[in-house]
Symmetry: C2
Subunit: 210 residues, 2 copies
Amino acid sequence: MSNFINDAKWRYATKKFDATKKVSTEDFEILKEAIQLSASSYGLQPYKVFIIENPEIRAKIQPAAWGQTQIVDASHLLVFANITNFGDAEIDAYIKNLSETRGIPVESVQGYADFMKSKITTLPEEARNVWTAKQTYLALGNLLNAAAELKIDVTPMEGFEPAAVNEILGFDQLGLNASLIATIGYRHEEDATQHYAKVRKSNEELFINL
Amino acid sequence: MSNFINDAKWRYATKKFDATKKVSTEDFEILKEAIQLSASSYGLQPYKVFIIENPEIRAKIQPAAWGQTQIVDASHLLVFANITNFGDAEIDAYIKNLSETRGIPVESVQGYADFMKSKITTLPEEARNVWTAKQTYLALGNLLNAAAELKIDVTPMEGFEPAAVNEILGFDQLGLNASLIATIGYRHEEDATQHYAKVRKSNEELFINL
């Protein structure tokens, strides 16, 4: 049996966290590495991840997230922020990183840089923002899966007002947009939803063979 | 050490598959279950997954996917198709499934159904299509991670012409849109990119602590 499947069955969108339990620094570093290793379009990782432990900031965010208690009760709050108006500067930074990581001259990958720029910077800004936001879902997926292996609970959230969170965190000035929230910690024993059967489409409903 | 991290370091976007190697039925069922267990917004799984082994269809798709050889050489080709114009019918189907899965009357979750409808069906169609497309990235993430545990290679692809793939697969008539492609199989020993160092943003670049 695959460990992945067992872990995926174990996880659920936690509704109530045990506010007395903190994720250890060691475990949290593993979660960060899982996010860092995420696949992304061209490997560009067009986002930042805000790790928010500060209780005052979390209290400010809670009303912008439908009042959900996980925002303040969880051990850690993460906000995945996609880069808006992604362009040449970000691609050049990636190419510099690639050049340094692999010990090859920037000139040798200039054609690749130009190719990426031709594909990306020709898109309208709105389409680029959608594209950078999509990449945060892959990073969130890595977080969910890595956390499940460690028996750490995560609630992925789209249920918040992006404009309000952007305002609280000053994202507009940073060229960022709040794409996803994840609260991380340990399920409260009183959270009844942990016992609910998972609702999933059947094989026949989900897959089509050609 | 986390198995997740080891597997994530092992995986890479395979450029050349060994066309002689097929993923076993047993392993492929695990990959399907990983996709099926993916988190999604409200658990709605607003997509279908096309499993394409037919070589003629794959040959047709290849030119619409920048001619990439993985399309025809991989063991399996998957197309993640997000549902377009997602609406009341899909939410009602989910509620029926929830009711049956958990053995509770539909009436007891009618308020939840109405809540989801108020949040989703009030969005403009384009925003709903973006939202369903985003969910396919979580499913793809599960595929990548489950495959890595089994030492099965996957190439995630945004590099294709959605309109052309939609046309080939008749997606417009099905109310679907080609969101992502994944080719699945085993890396060719001649694929030099498997030896390249991973390029990732540093901790300092990727994470911000508040």
